[in-house]
Amino acid sequence: MNISVVENTLAEHYCGYTQCSGHAERERERERERERASRCHGNLVANPYTNTATMSTSVAKLEKKKRRELVLRPSSGAINVSVSGLHGSTRRPNSVVASYSGRYFSVIGGSKMLEKSAIQAPRQAVRVFDEGNNDVTPRPLYQVAPGAVQAKASWFFVEEIPGGSASDQTSTTGGLIMPFFRSVLGSSRISTQSTIESMNEEIENTFSKQDMPINLPDVQKKREIVKEQVTEEMLKDIIDVYLSETSTISLLDIPNTFVSADADDAKAIIERNSQYAEVCRNRMGSHKYVDHSVQTVNGAAKNKQVQSDSITMVDAATTVTTWDIYDTLCSPEQDETMHSPEPEKASYTEAVVDTDRATAASSLKDMGVFGSSLNAESDLQLILSSEKFQHCFLVMERSILRNAFQPKLAAYRQLPVLEDPDSPVRPGTVEQRKEDIENSRSPALKCLWAFSCELSRGRSVSSMAWNKKNLDLLAVGYGELHSSNQKPGLVCCWSFKNLMWPERVIHCDSAVTSLDFSSNNPSQLAVGMHDGTIAVYNVQSQINISHVISSSKCPDKHLGPVWQLRWTQTELSLIEEQVESLSSVSADGRICKWFVFISDLNCTELMKLERVHNKKKKAGGNGTEKKSVLSELTPGLCFDFHPLDSGLYLVGTWEGLIHKCSCSNSQQFLQTYRKHFCPVNCIAWCPLSPELFLSCSSDWTIQLWKQDHCSPVLGFSSTQGAVYDIKWCPKWATVFGAIKEGQLEIWDLSANILDPVIVQPAAPGVTMKSLLFHTQSDCILVGDSAGHVTVYQLKNLRARESNQVNILEGLISSAASRQFCKTQPDKNRSIPTA
């Protein structure tokens, strides 16, 4: 705010008539003042409002020669209430000007300016007289006390002068200065108002005795700031700066009331102290002391006002949370790692919490916001390539899928299927569901979903295996088994948490024929391929999937497709832990056990599958079997280890024979089971009843054997078609599943031994290839030649009682007894009812 120094004594014209002549005159005066003011350099001005009248008179006397009085007489009947601007009086040489209330800039009085002002037109003091020639010039409402400090030199040049006290000029001329106030503020003025009247007379008197105003001390000399232009030469100048020490300024001196005991005069002081104590004690009853009162002069109290810069207060608040404290405590430990992420972390918390956190990060917030738009692109790249983000994506994808497939997954996990509370209820479906519940009492398979993706489409599923540790993980091997052109094989590890895309994808050199997960190292997957190679992969992370070891360099490797692989655990008596070994059976007629030898797989032969000549053919011959020198080996198609004794296993051969062998005996079979006349495709020991096993073959039959019987106890056949796969249900002893060409059959021996309980035809054009039961829920997975692995849920199988094993055994024994009856008619056993 630029307020020019009002050198004039003109005051605001208070009359109500804008057109009065006095008003016009005032205007003119004001203009002149403004011009003058503008010439003053850097001055600040206030418009005078009121002035004293009486004061002016007295002062006027003093300065008559410098001022000319302007006397107003009433004109046109209007009483001009204009007041003389005694501010003008401040414009005296050496006088300094007042400041006033509010935030006005102080008026600067400097001698320089004052000199200028002296040159200017003399001021006018306005005095008002009414018709009766009475002096009615208004008195000032405020007068500064005469003793008020003159040199508020510090107030000059200060931009803001709060408060209403007026600085004034010399005490001699007194604080008759009218404050420059614009508003009704001026609390100081109000406070002194009461004293004003009383002071008035005194001041007048004092003034009359005064001389000319005393020159202001040098302190108030020229205060104008003249800016010197810093020129180039000036910069290069060498300026001498002299530093000198000032004399010691003592700011506070409180003399000590204690003296150290080691001081020199300590003794004297101690003596005096003791004397004094003596005196005090004796004072009470002594005659030496008389009580006497004394009146002291009360010094006149004087109010003194001091003004200071108001201290700007800023509210700062912060909310501290528990974790904030924790972070601060822990962050010194992680200082190095936390440095760069810290500002960002703090900066975005700033965005949310509005209170001012007194941390350095708050200043970074602004920086961050500006810099962000530039860095968005690079940010994106950084983020997308970080591992955490990929993990994040993984979790997100699974959550989305879980949402989408929620009812099916719930059915799979045998949880109650919840209705989505927000989906609109369609009236038709509610009734349909009720119907469904009533109708479906017969055992059925409900298709839940199918695992398939682009990669696997078109490839035939050849084998499936569960992970031993993570029961949600499934490995599926894809490969054309019987076609001439071999596409490179594929292994996909599917998880039940992501139904649309496999977790791991492994590309293999040739078609995959068998798979198995290890139990000791659950992330190791053994893959047997069509060209006889066995490779063990570590599926822990997708990035480094490569085979840990492979048998491709082994000289003894299989020459034909590896039809089945199995990890078995054998207990060595010396070491008491379970040692795992990989066994395989292949089309070259060998069963091998593999071990790691210098980072490569090497094998020992467990058994050679020699072709066994049919004894009956030779019955009419020599009577003894002739073993040809070159015994041919017959391809082994499947094998299974005994669930309890891992040294015992069964092998199914191309000839249709099933041999029981032992790991310790590699020369001879322990027993041979003959029934099938076509290749035996699959053998499975019953997990719940260890004496029984099933076999299936391309001769359209399934045979149930008991371990010590040479002929099967029961045989099952339904439709015409080779049976490719057979599996026992791990939960119910009487249930097993079989895959025939073109259909899936579920047999429940407790219900029906002649026909399968459930028959699920395959989709047209697709043949089913592989079967797997889920260990805990009642779901079945079926792989087909189109690359789909469909998950079915078994429903309404009545085989839910707990004594399944007993039922099975009962059946077996009854069946066995019937057999015995045929051969040994004297044994008559009653057939227990199932």
Binding site: T321, T322, W323, I325, Y326, D327, P341, E344, K345, S347, Y348, T349, A351, V352, G368, V369, S372, S373, A376, E377, D379, L380, Q381, L382, I383, L384, S385, S386, K388, F389, Q390, C392, F393, L394, V395, M396, E397, S399, I400, L401, N403, A404, Q406, D420, D422, S423, M500, W501
Partner: protein
Amino acid sequence: MAEVEETLKRIQGQKGVQGIIIVNSEGIPIKTTLDNSSTVQYAGLIHQLVMKARSTIRDMDPQNDLTFLRVRSKKNEIMIAPDKDYFLIVIQNPSD
């Protein structure tokens, strides 16, 4: 990088997914499949929600931290995977 792009496409193609937004640590969306105004709105509002949620979890146990946030509403579900450097927001309507 290509894998990430692929995964993003897969997620987008899932049933009922309405949009995916990736927001950086300052709350500025850096990748989105929705229109601009919705994106900005989601980014701003969800940012605040996640801050509050995280503050809640950590207040109760400072060693704990927020890993995933799902907000189920009548019309859709918003899934948020927050992290120090970014947020991943997916909006899905599973009954579509």
